[in-house]
Symmetry: C2
Subunit: 332 residues, 2 copies
């Protein structure tokens, strides 16, 4: 993982993070014409490995062909985050971040550091898609193609309620959270595990609970699945970092308070939107409406096993569906 120094980085809300930094990983080589770069921002709680399963020889994101940049978002624990910023901006005092702040920092990375003028593709899912829409709306001259996979320009009303109830509330009501000034992340693990319980309740399609899908993943029971997969995903996280990520999602809006259809109407990137059947977080019908507002956008609903969890690539069929979507976006 590399680090791009942003210096004193002024946020949209007026706070300035001293010596801010953006962690990033790259795969492949930037070609001589500097037109093969792909920016692939991450989702809430995501790490590089979660995206790297979609980068590889023979896959859509083939590093022999593309220069793939995985830019860390603020609050991911590697880029400037509550967990790694010194006082007085540490932990519970780390300022709120906007999706636009992420994208502006990423834009600086690709222009100032790599000297890239146009990106072949910006893509992402979930909170990664929120960043993707912001990229396309904010930097139309840079983004040649964009892809939203299981995403949206901003969360739906249900998804906003999900972010508050599943991500924020279990943390801030855990007494060990101490207004963000716990000694170590694992002190707040009761809250983290409760996040996992709520995720298990809301994200897997009901088929997970009624068929043998959990067994296919190696879990013997619902209890094992909840503990092994969802608690396992959460207990490695830093609670304040998750709050920062959730709160940026809560305020995501590429129209910045203006008309969303108008903002989407000004996107010039060749746009691919793929939704997954059974994704309650970013439902297909919403995706279809977004696509109608973007000139020339291509929309497709893909039937997968795992709904919003598809991008986790738990099943070969899910991984294939995501790779297909990326291939489609690159060919646009």
């Amino acid at each position: 993982m590399d680090t791009f120094e942003l210096g004193n980085f002024r946020l949209a809300n007026g706070y300035t993070i001293p010596n801010a930094r953006l962690a990033y990983t790259t795969h492949g080589t930037l070609n001589a014409t500097r037109d093969n770069a792909v920016v692939f921002p991450n989702f809430l709680g995501g790490n590089d490995a979660a995206l790297e399963m979609y980068v590889g020889e023979g896959m859509a994101l083939d590093p022999n062909k593309y220069f793939v940049i995985l830019p860390g978002q603020f609050g991911n624990g590697f880029s400037s985050s509550p967990s790694n910023t010194p006082p007085p901006f540490d932990r519970g005092a780390f300022p709120p971040i906007a999706i636009a702040d992420d994208v502006i920092a990423q834009h600086r990375l690709i222009t100032e550091h790599f000297g890239i003028e146009r990106l072949a593709l910006v893509l992402g899912w979930s909170v990664g898609a929120l960043q993707t829409y912001e990229w396309a709306a904010r930097f139309p001259d840079v983004v040649t193609r964009m892809a939203s996979i299981a995403g949206a320009p901003r969360p739906s009303p249900w998804t906003l309620h999900w972010l508050r109830t599943v991500i924020e509330e279990p943390i801030v009501t855990d007494p060990a959270w101490s207004n963000g000034f716990y000694a170590q992340a694992s002190d707040v693990q009761a809250g983290l595990r409760r996040q996992g319980h709520c995720m298990a309740l809301t994200l897997p399609p009901l088929a997970y609970y009624h068929g043998d899908l959990m067994q296919r993943l190696g879990f013997g029971s619902v209890q094992d699945f909840v503990r092994g997969f969802f608690e396992g995903f959460m207990v490695g996280q830093d609670p304040n970092n998750l709050l920062i990520q959730a709160r940026k999602a809560l305020t995501a809006d590429p129209a910045h308070g203006g008309s969303l259809p108008e903002a989407l109407g000004q996107i010039t990137a060749k746009t691919t939107i793929v939704a997954f059947t059974g994704d309650v977080m970013f439902p297909p019908q919403d995706n279809e409406l977004d696509a109608r507002n973007i000139p020339g956008a291509h929309y497709r609903e893909a039937t997968t096993i795992s709904g919003h969890l598809t991008t986790f690539g738990l099943f070969p069929e899910d991984r294939q569906a995501v790779d297909d979507a990326i291939r489609e976006a690159l060919a646009a």
Copy 2:
């Protein structure tokens, strides 16, 4: 509301509640042949008013025709409950209750107090349906007809996880709960409200969040709906009482550890099973499987607005769907 004194009531788990009591309400008159009685147990958090909207002149449960008994369940705050039982069985020390305990107490009410030998119908939804299945399996000679509306003989794996995550966890992780020995229920209202938040996330079909259904109910926003309806439903409840009700649902099993299909196969009541489209708590496909195991059972999926919330009767169409289901059950 009336009270039936059960004396020292021995539970299935070995504890004996001293001077136990069952609160109940009746509508209509028991006829001379004592064959017009309907038993209508309640759901988790339910009160008499929630059922009484389905009892009335011109409705299926017409008190001019039927003698409708609404038997309180243990833990509802009127029947023996954590909130109303003196030490040493008070509050956090109230013993766990099984669905079978409820049904045995209700059976004593109708036989010992009313002298009823056969019931025209036992019906219920959700936890009320859990009681209904127990009635039909335990007292086949008494139950002429049974109806499960948005219910099941036992909760699905998802629903078990729901009971733990949405009902138990927000209470027991609220420091004010104090292992069940809080001074007053409202001390634990942060936990109660969090229950409401999780309910709002999991129970309304997504259409509530995407159309004008909340507006039709008089709520201006998701926030208003969550606070006005779901927090409003929860803050009047007693936390320990809810735990007792949730834990009896968690262990519901009319087969008592044996084969469920076999237990269902021995039901002799004329059985009506109505499921609601979009009910994640008791999904139609599960209901259909249950019906196949019960000799002569009639199964129907009804398309309603509100999924598992249909029985709340928030919309006239929902109320009608429930009344139709009851009418069908009475005609069986």
